[in-house]
Amino acid sequence: MFDSMTNEVNSARGLLPKVIARGKLTRRCTDIGFAMPKRDRARSLSAPPKFGIQEEQKCKDEARSLDDSSLESLLHVGVPRLASMDPRNILKRFYASLVGEGKNDAGDIEQPGCLRVISATSTGGDPLDTWPVLCAEPRRLLESTGQSETYSLSVPCGVQGMAIPLPGSLAQTDDLGAVIAHALLSLQHWEQLRPRLAGHCLVDELDDDLCVAHCPERPIDFASIDGEESVIRIAVQAPDGTRWQVEALAPLRFHLLRHLAFGNDANFCEMLRRCRPHSTSGGKSKGAFWKSECGQLMLKEVRAAEASHLASKAGPFAVRLAEALRGEPSLLCEVFGLFRVGRLGKRPSTRTIIIMRRVTVQKWEMGSPIYHNFEWKNIGT
């Protein structure tokens, strides 16, 4: 019946009879109504791009994707219903992964659980406290107030509910210390590191206690760690949209060294979380430097060959550093981490970073095993 009516209409207008399938007719009408572009005059091939090549390509992509079928596939909602929907709900469906809300966002957000956190500075009372996972700076708040308050967090929560917030504009600040600290306290790092800690920080793999605090009565045997360790890779998503990948080289040995030096990784990350690029020049290596805000740590960019050499022979080096941390005389500069930090995206870059102790008067006055303060007598005086 439809085909006969079409033929009749076309015949009445004096056009040639043409049989068009129903589905094809509908699709063609849709294309005309939503995606028919307004044709501009053809520009010369040698003419500069109108907005810039990237913007022009973006416009083309948007024009290609904004039709009703793609909207329906994205939103799982018919196009006629879009007009009656709340715009905020539409945005939530688009940016579900960024804002932590999704298609089941109508009151179905999973509430964070509570984990046990060991307060390193708690004085008296129960050292174990309950702390919600969602909080901006749990350690600092825990130490200062001792109260549990819930805060919104823009970064994924890490081990034991602790997380290192990243700077809003990480690409501009170039704070690699924050990236490394965030990665060290992430669940992704912990899940890969935990099986290796059995017999060192943890009694076994099924031990419920996280190794946030080191037990002095349980000595760490660095010599029992055999061979070269595999790399732990951690993906980091910054608030500004940049994606990073942090690779921890020799992760177990340096984790145990941090245990000896700082008590736990949380203390170390607290010191490392804010670093500033430090301008140096005149050195032969031309490597970049970062200085932690607390003034205790120094980050240095090293060559990939140096890092590979250290990672492959980290065993004797870690044994010697551990002896120095236990009080034996040593002059070696302490190294607490070896990381390969890569920025992903259009302009990828990778830098290899070592984290070492910055020599300060305070450290020396505390009796650092790094530097020995020798008294001397001058000959002839």
Partner: protein, 138 residues
């Protein structure tokens, strides 16, 4: 142990490492090569630039010999033993790792009669390229 290779630390880096040490401290980057008389290249950063004659400038081996008049400094027996033990153990580990290119950083306070020592910049492996570079420079 070979001490005659190029430095990798700038003056600014030494000052960063020794932050908190006042200008009364004299700092030396010692590699054990008497011909290393030239100080590290001056920094392009105005804040980092330090005149070689200023007290906080990092001196090399030649400056070390010149400052002390080629005379030894005598330590207390206890300190000397601790220093010998530390060096023996540290250098044994570095030798095991194949690391032979490093510096001995020394800070000397003439008024307080204090000496501070550290081994730094020891990560670079002694590869064939490095051997060739050192041979050409020496």
């Amino acid at each position: 142990m070979r001490f005659w290779c190029f430095p990798m630390f700038s003056q600014q880096m030494f000052r960063n490492l020794l932050n908190g040490i006042t200008d009364d401290w004299q700092i030396f980057d010692i590699k054990g090569a008497a011909h290393r008389n030239m100080p590290p290249a001056p920094s392009a950063d105005p804040e980092a630039s330090t005149a070689p004659s200023s007290p906080s400038a990092v001196k090399w081996d030649g400056g070390f010999v010149e400052t002390f008049g080629a005379l030894p400094k005598v330590l207390k027996p206890v300190d000397h033993e601790a220093l010998e033990l530390a060096l023996k153990c540290d250098l044994h580990v570095l030798r095991e790792l194949g690391l032979v290119d490093y510096s001995l950083l020394m800070a000397f306070h003439p008024k307080a009669n204090r000496i501070r020592l550290a081994i730094i910049d020891f990560l670079q492996p002694y590869t064939l390229n490095k051997q060739h570079l050192c041979s050409a420079s020496g």
